[in-house]
């Protein structure tokens, strides 16, 4: 079953006086199946964040189609957009985006509270998720009292607590050291094994090699895609490196 379908997606940024138009995405098409773990790679400025933000309905596309769980996101009314986002999507950011005035527990509960879920259910979910992410001991702490890796785990907890159809992550390990990154990526794999669909933007080949499929974006288009299939992480790593080399050389 297709969770996400993107067709001919185009995004042109117009600066304030319409003088400089910047085409971030020209024509992007791909789809994501239920249960997949997809990584998106590409040079800086290639439009990865733009793509993710459009899928997350944080940004409006210029043209093209984005279907999420069978629904055209362009057709969702503004008033329903935040509810839709809350119910169907989880978002993990590079800089965590936790709120300092909420405890770890409350940060994770935020989407559930906004969705007005019953308290018993919230409590049950927060315990489950915290156990999965190994942050049960930190629940009562505040974001400024925990480490970066722990913050990112909290952010992941917040993203998956509502069991979203799709988990979006924009460079989730960008602000972490390699050891903490490794743990987060293993977590992603683990979550993916439980059936969670993940779409992750990353710069790191190491991170991408944990995914089941990698999409390469260049010049506003999907340049290539490779599958991991039965390969080991290391073998896949090598393959991604090769593809990247081709991509940069081909550009010159």
């Amino acid at each position: 079953m297709k969770i996400l379908e993107v067709q001919d997606l185009k995004k042109v940024y117009t600066t304030r006086f319409n003088l400089n138009k910047c085409e971030a995405l020209r024509s992007v098409s791909f789809s994501v199946e239920q249960g997949e773990f997809v990584a998106i790679m590409g040079e800086s400025g290639s439009g990865k964040s733009t793509l993710l933000n459009i899928i997350a309905s944080l940004l409006k596309q210029t043209a093209g189609y984005v279907g999420l769980a069978g629904k055209n996101i362009a057709e969702i009314k503004d008033s329903q957009l935040s509810a839709f986002r809350r119910d169907h999507l989880g978002f993990v950011f590079q800089d965590f985006n936790l709120l300092d005035n909420f405890s770890v527990k409350d940060n994770m509960l935020l989407p559930m509270v906004l969705a007005q879920k019953p308290y018993d259910l919230m409590l049950q979910r927060v315990q489950e998720v915290a156990a999965l992410l190994k942050i049960t001991d930190l629940l009562e702490k505040f974001p400024y009292e925990i480490s970066g890796g722990e913050k990112q785990r909290t952010a992941i907890g917040r993203a998956i607590i509502t069991n979203p159809e799709l988990l979006l992550a924009d460079e989730p390990t960008g602000a972490l050291d390699s050891k903490a990154s490794e743990r987060i990526l293993r977590l992603f794999q683990q979550i993916n094994e439980t059936g969670q669909t993940i779409l992750m933007v990353t710069h790191s080949v190491r991170a991408a090699s944990k995914a089941k499929r990698v999409l390469f974006i260049k010049d506003g288009q999907v340049f290539n895609e490779i599958y991991k299939a039965e390969q080991t992480d290391d073998a896949f790593y090598q393959k991604i490196m090769n593809t990247l080399a081709v991509m940069t050389n081909g550009g010159e």
Partner: protein, 678 residues
């Protein structure tokens, strides 16, 4: 040289970039400078205008006002500066990380400081001079100076203003440099995101806050002795200020945490966001809120009290002078001076072509006492009024012959008392008693009468019913008898006779009469000690006094108001900056625009109206003690305090609300700026 120019450029661009922070800071410094300068300049003007009745009073008020403005200016400039620095910490941290040495940053701060100080002092002085004439005219109108008092700008106040504010800005700079020096760049970078450290002993502090406010309220309501009220007022004010700070910083957090404990309540979308963000806010900015509350109280109290004093001036004058003229002299058993003076006045009246009307006279012996074992000791010379302020036992006694009863109470009743009988006014000292002992002589209390407005009793202006007692004895011989009882005492007072009268006639004739009686005025003959006074002669002094007070009240009131507005503005600015990030995150997670607006609104309303409502409660309670205070020196508030207070509260609330609308608009703008989320 070239290097320094670089820092000048940097400082300039910093100020430009931080406009939203710098402009209100600069504006408020400018306004404070203008107020300070005018206070000093007006003082000079009044001091230079000689032979104005009561000009020393007005001048000393203005001097006092100048000191207050100076202190407020210092507090305020530091406060505004701390806001400014808080918002700029990130920027300064960044410079450090980008490789600017601390001394370079210091140089940059110095240049910025010089620029802000120079421009705000100069523009403040210009603004002050521009509005000086207007303020001067307002003051002249209030104090009704008919005489020539030209508006002049003196150089003294200019130099004083420059000196005071230069020192102030220097202190601010030193403060900023020290803070910068003590903080590591990394800390500076992060500092904004940290919630303030949780205060310890939260509950205890909250209870202390409650206790302080309660104690302040208790004092304000129960202090009945008006002389004590002066001292107790300041004590109560201090308690309430401290209590408000504690209550806002700790009490609010304790309360919100209680809400948070109630999970059914807490885990609802708007409650969830607003409760936790209010806790966060209160921890960081409760001091600001408490300051707003205290300043609001000051505005309301200052303006309404001075307005009451000014408004009730004529009535106070009427009370002090039941007739147009009054004449007092020492009463001697062997000599009836009343007849002599009456005929003298009659002669003057004929000469001037006016008629004397509504004439009456009283005779009395007045003395201060501290009842010892219910004996009204005569002229206990160990104490004076100052000592009495702190003492409950102090009492002013006035002894009249019974014939004067009807004159004083304006009741035509014939009373005849036996030699050992007295009629006394209501007072705790005589409650449930049959015997009154005056200086060793015992009297039977025949009747206790309520103390009404007693005409012509000068002390009635100063004292409350509780503090004075009127005693009627059989006749004038009995009064002399009482005096003789204490003849060895050198401080002993002597009985006095007072004559009160109005005159009728045209303006010119009255002026002639005035000139004639003036000659008789204040005959300080040891034996006679004649004093003649007129309502008209006192009016100028009253106007100078109450008008000066009212002017200072409005002057300081508007300064307090301006500072309140600016503090609110600063608060909104810095909170808006912080909330922008928070709401962006919340919206990414799934808070809708409408919900966000609702939460922001709820939070704004809370933060805004908490200080206002608290301030209104404070001043409502303060009314009790202010009423007592007004009794001292002004003879009461003549029913004006309550309406004036209510009016001031309404006007203040309207202004406050306008400020709310204005700043919340900017707040929404800040929170929504750069918010591409739909």
């Amino acid at each position: 040289m070239k290097g320094n120019f670089f820092y000048v450029q940097l400082a300039k661009s910093n100020i430009k970039r931080n406009e939203r922070n710098f402009i209100p800071f600069w504006l408020s410094c400018m306004i404070v400078v203008a107020f300070f300068f005018n206070m000093l300049n007006l003082k000079q003007i009044v001091e230079h205008s000689e032979d104005v009745y009561g000009n020393t009073t007005v001048a000393s008020f203005l001097g006092f006002g100048g000191v207050i403005v100076g202190i407020l200016a210092a507090i305020f400039v530091f406060y505004a500066n701390s806001f400014l620095m808080k918002n700029r910490k990130k920027e300064l941290g960044l410079y450090g990380i980008l490789g600017l040495e601390k001394r370079h940053v210091a140089l940059m701060l110095l240049i910025e400081n010089l620029f802000i100080a120079g421009s705000s002092i100069i523009s403040g002085l210009l603004l002050g001079m521009a509005f000086g004439k207007l303020l001067f005219l307002a003051m002249a109108k209030l104090i009704q100076y008919a005489v020539n008092m030209p508006f002049t700008i003196y150089t003294g106040p200019i130099w004083w203003t420059i000196a005071v504010f230069a020192v102030l800005f220097l202190l601010v700079l030193v403060f900023n440099l020290i803070t910068m020096h003590l903080t590591e760049p990394v800390e500076l970078l992060k500092s904004k995101n940290h919630g303030e450290k949780q205060p310890r002993f939260l509950r205890l502090t909250a209870m202390a806050g409650f206790f302080c406010i309660g104690a302040g309220y208790y004092i304000a309501i129960t202090t009945t002795n008006p002389l004590k009220a002066i001292l107790m007022f300041f004590f109560a004010v201090l308690l309430v200020i401290v209590g408000t700070h504690y209550l806002f910083t700790a009490g609010s957090v304790v309360f919100l945490k209680m809400l948070k404990k109630n999970q059914k309540f807490y885990y609802r979308p708007t409650n969830f966001i607003s409760t936790s963000s209010l806790i966060y806010r209160m921890r960081k900015n409760a001091t600001g809120l408490a300051n707003i509350c205290v300043l609001s109280c000051m505005v309301i109290v200052t303006v309404s009290t001075t307005a009451t004093v000014y408004g009730s001036m004529e009535k106070a004058l009427d009370k002090r002078f039941p007739r147009d003229y009054q004449m007092e002299w020492t009463l001697r058993e062997e000599k009836d001076r009343l007849k002599i003076y009456q005929s003298l006045l009659g002669k003057y009246a004929d000469q001037a072509g006016v008629t004397i009307t509504d004439e009456y006279s009283t005779r009395s012996l007045g003395f201060m006492t501290m009842p010892i074992n219910d004996v009204l000791v005569r002229d206990a010379n160990e104490f004076n009024t100052m000592d009495a302020m702190g003492l409950d036992g102090f009492l002013w006694v006035n002894v009249y012959p019974a014939q004067d009863f009807s004159v004083i109470f304006e009741e035509e009743i014939d009373i005849s008392l036996a030699k050992d009988e007295v009629i006394v006014s209501e007072n705790p000292v005589v409650n449930n008693r049959q015997i009154l002992n005056i200086a060793g002589k015992e009297y039977r209390i025949k009747k206790i009468v309520p103390m009404k407005e007693i005409k012509g009793l000068e002390e009635a202006n100063v004292l409350d019913d509780l503090l004075q007692i009127v005693v009627f004895v059989a006749d004038i011989e009995e009064v002399f008898e009482l005096q003789k009882q204490d003849q060895e005492n050198p401080h002993a007072s002597t009985p006095e006779e007072s004559l009160y009268f109005n005159i009728k006639g045209n303006k010119e004739n009255i002026a002639t009469f005035d000139r004639l009686v003036m000659a008789t005025r204040n005959n300080e003959n040891e034996d006679e000690r004649l004093r003649l006074d007129s309502k008209e002669w006192n009016r100028a002094e009253y106007y100078g006094f109450t008008g000066g007070l009212y002017f200072i009240g409005i002057f300081l009131g508007s300064l307090f108001l301006l500072l309140t507005v600016l503090i609110i503005y600063f608060k909104q600015m810095s909170e808006g900056e912080e909330d922008r990030e928070r709401f962006q995150i919340l919206m990414k997670v799934g808070l809708s625009h409408a919900e966000a607006k609702k939460v922001i609104h709820k939070q704004l309303v809370m933060m805004f109206f908490l200080p206002l409502v608290t301030a209104i409660i404070h001043v409502t309670v303060a009314r009790f003690i202010i009423e007592r205070l007004l009794l001292v020196g002004f003879g009461g508030n003549y029913g004006l305090l309550t309406p004036y207070l209510a009016l001031t509260i309404v006007i203040f609330a309207v202004i406050y609300f306008t400020v709310y609308l204005w700043t919340s608009k900017t707040y929404y703008q800040i929170v929504n700026s750069g918010n591409g989320t739909h």
